[in-house]
């Protein structure tokens, strides 16, 4: 599994170009998240792909060839934080609720909605942590789940920012 971060133009069709490229390279995307940046014209993507380092290089370099991709970087080999967010609706009656609460403490999950026979749990963390929580919740009955897919960021001074200014556009042939 390889993790790439990309800054892209925030406009229609860009997601299609990015996913179509991965399809063309026969690279299966495990998760792809897109979110705004503090520049409303730029969006940030985290792409987690089923491929090796060679495939990730190809994906990264090919992504940067797309006009609307400002930057693409394979950060798999770097020290990074990865987070996934999940909302899990789990069956909970009077009897099981206290047990569930204890479990959630261990996983630092939060209860964000309570109904007579179910709870919605919000949990964020690494994929492993969420998978671990899911495993222990399953015996109680997981009714529904929504996960965001991963977002990733390199640690400390290793910055990955969108290119600062527009380079002056080269004059077209005239």
């Amino acid at each position: 599994m390889q993790t790439l971060v990309a800054y892209v133009e925030n406009k229609p069709g860009v997601l299609n170009r990015v996913s179509s490229l991965a399809r063309r390279l026969a690279i299966n995307i495990d998760s792809l998240t897109v979110g705004p940046t503090d520049n409303e014209e730029i969006a940030r993507m985290t792409i987690v792909a089923h491929t090796d380092a060679k495939g990730a290089h190809r994906l990264e370099a090919s992504l940067e060839k797309l006009v609307d991709v400002l930057l693409a970087e394979n950060i798999s080999e770097r020290s990074l934080l990865e987070r996934d967010l999940a909302l899990i609706k789990v069956a909970a009656d009077q009897q099981s609720r206290p047990h569930l609460m204890d479990l959630l403490k261990v996983f630092r999950g939060r209860v964000v909605d309570v109904a007579p026979d179910s709870l919605i749990v919000e949990v964020s963390g690494t994929v492993d942590k969420i998978d671990g929580l899911l495993e222990v919740l399953r015996p109680y009955g997981v009714l529904e789940m929504a996960r965001t897919g991963r977002i990733a960021m390199t640690r400390g001074g290793d910055l990955l920012q969108p290119p600062a200014d527009a380079e002056p556009a080269a004059a077209a042939k005239s």
């Binding site: 290089h57 190809r58 060839k65 991709v69 527009a166 556009a169 077209a172 042939k173």
Partner: protein
């Protein structure tokens, strides 16, 4: 000044230096055609939109500039797909302009509406829908910039009909391209550069693999200086032909599946390969597991995605070929390499005796004879535009190109039907050049309708059909690998000379070797186009041949006496 979107488009094209464009009208592009009639642009009416894209491609490749093709929405646009893909695979700067239904109708399955930007996304460098007249000038300027810069490629601009009809201010100064602010990557670091220099100067058996990128970057002089400094033998890719003169003693000829045997052997024996503007296509490398095992590799290439894609390299100099070579040249040590050149000469000797040109002539007309005579008669100065198949390989083997952009052929996509329309485009780019189409009887039948375009435009393009009555390259594969089971390769054709006459073009059929040269001469002397139907040996094959997936040195060689195995009679 307020103009309609259609007028803005025409004025923008004029300002960008466009003089000729190739297209076919229709409902959704009609406002543009109305404006074209009032502009200085010369529109070439094609007979099929595929032809328009190949013409624009041929124009781009012959001129080094951008070629422009135009079509209406729906089927007009989808007919362009093959031509766009051809340009994409061969890094050719083509701008395609398509009409689109009105923006209010988008997504409604209106008459002749198709999502052409969706369809062409993977086969264009970039594409875009324009639905406002005020965006046309900037978008078209951006399209030209994208098509031409870096590794070139096709760009499609889809303009809705209402955008063509609406009025907007045409302001050239304020329609500067505004492309997204991309990160500039450092092309290569000093360590990489130093490693390359070290490899170059230490090599005992170096060999250059010269590709299309040399011509695209205009690196011919820097490349020649580089070659002569290191006294490097040079092998050419199909699309690289012309980048380095064939008559330079250091030019060994073409590499790969139908490359010269000594070239492929030299690659396998080399201790250093220097790849310049080429991409280690499978037709060039054969089996990657056995490819140039003893060689270190340096890759000079503008497209970072090509680095280590097929072949792992020891030094990658990512950048424009000309800039990289100019940076390398001052560091090159002069070398003579007598042992290595002697070894290559030795390998060459074996191939020369098998050459079809040296075999006794028993009245057979071989394609190689035709090509060789064409080369001699044109002094190697013609622009030759080839299709795809056996004739394409024979042209590459027997026509010796000394100048860049004189061989135009579909390499990457291998598009049959390319030659005739691409030659028409090349003729518009180089009106004074002697332009020859070399095409098989199969490929010619795919786009022969463009003969009418030649007549309507009153241009002179000579056509040499290498007619063997088969889809020859496929037949050859069937002969070698499918026990001569010729399924769907025997090919009935019309009387091409009579067909040419029907179009108003002079046509002649040639069956004997003695008539080849005089007929070519007569075609060249005539002011009008001429089609020559060369009836060549039916079951001749292209040698040598590296079977698909085999190692580069495992070639099928021309039998010592091919005349024993083949017959003269159809």
């Amino acid at each position: 000044m307020k103009l309609t979107g259609a007028e803005i488009l025409c004025q923008t094209l004029e300002r960008l230096g466009v003089t000729d464009l190739f297209g076919y009208p229709g409902g959704a592009i009609l406002p543009v055609y109305d404006a074209l009639g009032k502009s200085k642009l010369h529109h070439v009416l094609v007979r099929h939109e595929q032809g328009a894209t190949h013409m624009a491609d041929g124009y781009a490749r012959a001129s080094g500039g951008v070629g422009v093709a135009m079509a209406t929405s729906g089927p007009g646009a989808t007919n362009m797909v093959t031509g766009i893909a051809t340009a994409m695979l061969d890094s050719s700067p083509v701008v395609c302009i398509t009409g689109q239904v009105g923006s209010k109708l988008l997504g409604s399955d209106a008459f002749q509406e198709i999502d052409i930007t969706g369809i062409t996304m993977p086969i264009t460098k970039h594409n875009v829908v324009v639905s406002r007249a005020e965006d046309i000038a900037r978008t078209v300027r951006e399209a030209f910039l994208i098509a031409k810069s870096g590794r070139p490629g096709p760009v499609l601009v889809d303009i809705t009909k209402d955008a063509q009809q609406a009025s907007a201010e045409f302001d050239w100064e304020n329609s500067e391209p505004k492309l997204p602010a991309k990160r500039k990557r450092a092309s290569y670091d000093k360590a990489e550069f130093d490693r390359a220099i070290e490899l170059l100067n230490a090599a005992k058996r170096p060999l250059i693999l010269a590709g299309h990128g040399i011509m695209i970057s205009g690196a011919m002089k820097a490349f020649a200086d580089f070659v002569h400094a290191g006294h490097f033998p040079v092998a050419m890719t199909l699309l690289g032909i012309g980048a380095f003169p064939a008559n330079d003693p250091l030019n060994l000829g073409m590499m790969g599946m139908h490359g010269e045997a000594w070239v492929n052997h030299a690659i396998q024996e080399a201790d250093l390969l220097i790849a310049v503007g080429m991409r280690f296509d499978d037709r060039v490398t054969g089996d990657l597991r056995t490819y140039a095992k003893s060689a270190k590799k340096i890759h000079i290439e503008i497209d970072r995605a090509e680095i280590n894609k097929n072949v792992k390299v020891d030094a990658a100099l990512v950048g424009d070929a000309r800039e990289v070579l100019e940076a390398l040249n001052p560091h090159m040590e002069k070398k003579a390499r007598p042992d290595w050149h002697a070894r290559i000469k030795e390998m060459q000797g074996d191939a020369a005796v098998r050459d079809i040109q040296t075999l006794p002539d028993f009245g057979h007309l071989y394609a190689a004879h035709v090509i060789n005579d064409l080369w001699k008669e044109t002094n190697g100065d013609a622009i030759v535009v080839t299709d795809v198949g056996q004739h394409q390989m024979w042209e590459a083997q027997y026509y010796h190109h000394n100048k860049p952009r004189t061989l135009i052929t579909s390499g990457g996509l291998g598009t049959m039907g390319f030659a005739l329309p691409a030659a028409i485009g090349a003729k518009f780019a180089k009106p004074d050049a002697d332009v020859w189409v070399v095409v098989g009887d199969g490929g010619f039948q795919m786009t022969m309708c463009e003969l009418a375009t030649i007549v309507q435009e009153k241009i002179k393009v000579n056509i040499a059909i290498i007619n063997n009555g088969y889809l020859g390259m496929v037949r050859q594969w069937q002969e070698f690998f499918y026990d001569k089971r010729y399924v769907a390769t025997p090919l009935v054709a019309p009387d091409f000379a009579a067909l040419a006459n029907a179009f108003g073009i002079r046509g002649e059929r040639i069956t004997s070797r003695a008539d080849v040269l005089p007929t070519i001469r007569s075609a060249r002397e005539s002011k009008e186009s001429m089609l020559i139907d060369f009836r060549v040996e039916q079951e001749d094959s292209v040698y040598p041949m590296v079977p698909a997936g085999a190692s580069l040195h495992e070639m099928i060689r021309r039998p010592d006496n091919p005349l024993v195995e083949t017959s003269t009679e159809p």
